[in-house]
Subunit: 296 residues, 4 copies
């Protein structure tokens, strides 16, 4: 059994503490929200851990994570280790690792997949960093990952940054898969040839080529709301989809599906985009085509 400091007890971190404790590990959690926190401050958290310490960060990517790493670099000691399990951009990892390495503190980046289901199912983990550091943290990873062969729910992806890189690409693929299901659902709904759309989708769960966890979730959603009309078709995107597309650009890799999935989300949040107003204006100019006037 090992001891872990865990910073950030939101939806993900809270569940991870539960899963780790259920596996018999000691977790000292810190969150700004005192209702869920085990400690009063990062300083307090560090003081409650025995050296060499492992501290897992699970706070929002970007500035919050970077600031937490900086603060930890001043609190931890040589031989300790920090793991960033958040959704950081992989380029942040090198900065974090260098900052900590200057004080002989180790660093791993860990992409974590599985959402709210991870508490019970386990989390898919992709880790970047030195093999020796990965080895030290393996009891933690083993507790967080799903049951079954380790290599089916955990990978040591490469050097620092590779874990978040793998997670970024994972999410890019996820965008594409979700959009594929979404287009199929819309086609079934629109054509009305299939009478019982939820039944068809439920019937894809076994034996078919498209069987997948996302399909299972779609079935679950349709069980609750058979036409999916309780929700608006307004879809946020997190950083990973955008970063994946940036990587496609940087590496000259065609990514038509992933970009289409991302753009569909952008478009879902627009009403009467400037682009389509321009197309309407052009049609109006050359053809005298009927157009919709605002308020008309």
């Amino acid at each position: 059994m090992v001891q872990l400091g865990l910073i950030g007890l939101g939806k993900m971190g809270f569940n991870m503490r539960e899963r780790l404790r259920a596996a018999g590990h000691e977790v000292v959690g810190y969150d700004r929200n005192p209702d869920v926190s085990d400690t009063t401050s990062l300083e307090d958290l560090v003081s409650k851990l025995d050296a060499p310490r492992i501290v897992w960060i699970m706070v929002p990517a970007g500035e919050p994570t970077r600031a937490t790493v900086t603060e930890l670099s001043n609190l931890l000691a040589a031989g300790d280790m920090v793991i960033d399990g958040g959704n950081s951009k992989y380029t942040d990892d090198k900065l974090n690792a260098d900052l900590l390495a200057a004080k002989s503190i180790g660093y791993l980046d860990c992409g974590v997949s599985g959402g709210v289901w991870g508490k019970d199912n386990g989390y898919g983990l992709m880790v970047g960093g030195a093999a020796s550091d990965v080895e030290k943290a393996m009891p933690i990873f083993d507790a967080l990952r799903p049951d079954g062969p380790r290599e089916e729910g955990f990978s040591h992806a490469g050097d620092v940054g590779a874990g978040h890189y793998a997670k970024m690409i994972h999410n890019g693929i996820e965008y594409g898969m979700m959009q594929a299901f979404a287009e199929g659902f819309e086609l079934l709904e629109a054509a009305k040839v299939v009478k019982d759309v939820p039944a068809v989708i439920k019937g894809w769960q076994r034996g078919t080529v498209v069987r997948s966890w996302l399909l299972d979730l779609l079935v679950r959603a349709l069980d609750e709301d058979p036409e999916l009309d309780d929700l608006e078709g307004y879809v946020e995107d997190s950083g990973e989809g955008r970063w994946t597309l940036e990587e496609a650009i940087n590496n000259a890799v065609p990514a038509p599906v992933i970009s289409a999935a991302l753009f569909a989300r952008f478009a879902s949040r627009q009403e009467h985009s400037a682009a389509m107003r321009a197309v309407a204006a052009l049609r109006n100019q050359f053809g005298g085509h009927a157009v919709k006037k605002v308020g008309g």
Copy 2:
């Protein structure tokens, strides 16, 4: 000077009659609307023309055009000729030509581009059919096409159907070009790095790579409405864009730009598409992500 029967005096046909008459030709027009019609019926129209007759059809594609051809096949005589100048699907042309050929009536299909500007600028023409028939109708084509070298505003594209095929592809390209300008406009609007978007677009009219008639029309639209917000971004599509994509499918030709332009129009007419409701539902299922509830 030649004589022409012209069926259909809507936005396009009406202007074409004007242009033909201005060129000195005799046009007998028929339209269901007696206010613009020169004749009371197709029978009357045919009786007013000297054999061998040329009758130009300019009515909506599909059933209306097919029905007009059928009616004309019963009214015209061997040696006469029908020209379909509407936006018919190219597969209709073979049917029309065969029907008329059985009575030794000639047939040409003619794609016509230029919109409401054609009356003054002339119309771009793409013609399919036998060379001898094209030759007979050339005075008409010469009057309708723009000034300048004939081969820059007119083409004999091939056999029956080739004229409408060329027009279909022309429109597919047009969809892509319009969407390209539209995306550029939206990017300029969104980023706010460029302060005077209409001035930039106006300044592209000479010397640049993107100079084009569509750009001129965009400038015109921006002169009237600098942010293009009098119109809704709701864009219809006519058959040609869809048929172009069908041709891409049938010929295994990748058409990512033309399809993207068509899909952008489809999406512009949707509110909260089923697809994006499905994506929202999936995110909700796996991540407990914040979503917008209807009415929420």
Copy 3:
């Protein structure tokens, strides 16, 4: 235990006969290849079945299936039933059903998914037709579908045609999912941030959002060929992807992901497409850009 005539003993039909017999059903198979056929002709096959007969067709879609249905309409008797389990276009089903209904022969269309794995895993089934006909064939469907709850591997999708419609959309989704994984794989390969790409992909099999049967197959392929360079990136497409895109056009449904996946396959089979030669020619014209001359 029931009795079934099965026409077409290729890769799919052969395995289905195995699975049905393993479940205790009596299968009389016919194939043009005498090495695998149980009978010498369709006539012979029909004579070996007791009325009311059920005959399952598993031959190539289009003309071969249509011809088989026609032949069966002359051999079967009132009260018999035909099931088309091939990859027919859903519009063929109405024609088949009407032809057979004239002789009081029933008809079901059944989309079958699962490939070569179906023999052991069972096949995902989507059925169109009358509920009473579905009921009669249920022992067959139960033997072919995977173990587990019936509704997770079988659906009665709607009237005649709905089964193949559901299968068509299933395959459209499949195209999108495959392309999503493919783009992710290429990005991992290209960027070289992740050192062990197969390990990362293997590690996605449990706990992650992208876990799926296609992912399992990708892991299997990478186990055999870690850089996937034994195969050429030349990908055929079957009818269903194209038909799905046609449905998107017909129903004005944006399908950017499914179309992108289809176009990627088209492009994979081209070398120096006319389109890209045109782009190269344009760049050459306006910019004097360096271009590759053929043989240069």
Copy 4:
């Protein structure tokens, strides 16, 4: 008549010197290639200009331009002005302007469009910077821009960076337009319904909606090579297309057409992409589909 220092006498700079001199301006040019250079060094160039000097940089974007600006900041004096006419990323402009402003040297960024045709036709110009600086350089801009109304070939787009931003978007649109023509060309070639593809495209030059300079160039290319098969379909991309897509990402603007055009270029340079090898491998796994083995 004004005096201008011009750094970089490649394809673009050389022609611009010609056009400026033809307009009666004094141009002192510098290039590393002594055969075309008027001076031996930047220092020599600066010494040959009367204060307040205007120096136009026309060297490759990125490091070469940044280095030239740095060097000029040490050679020029307060009241002088630098204009970057290259294809710099707009974010470089702020850096350049700040560096020069520290020495009271002015800075303008100028997007230049028109390629090798600009010498005779004039260049489309988009300028970013202070109005007073724009005013000072106006004689230069007026000589470089096309004849006709100034505002149709020149724009003051906004503050520093806005000129290159406008040029970047211009190029993004250009990518989309080129790909639209390219897809149309390929469809015409593939379907073979149109017998004389070059004639059809030539016939679009007047009266049609797609008439444009790019179309004129396509006609020119087809005049030289009617099937465009002297060139390989291998297409480079410059920075602007990629940056435009980055801007789409950063501003959450859907850019399906521009991205498709960029990805088509990426794909044109690949043979058997990793993505399509992955799709082939998946099909092989689930279906035992025929695939092409390398060397097979």
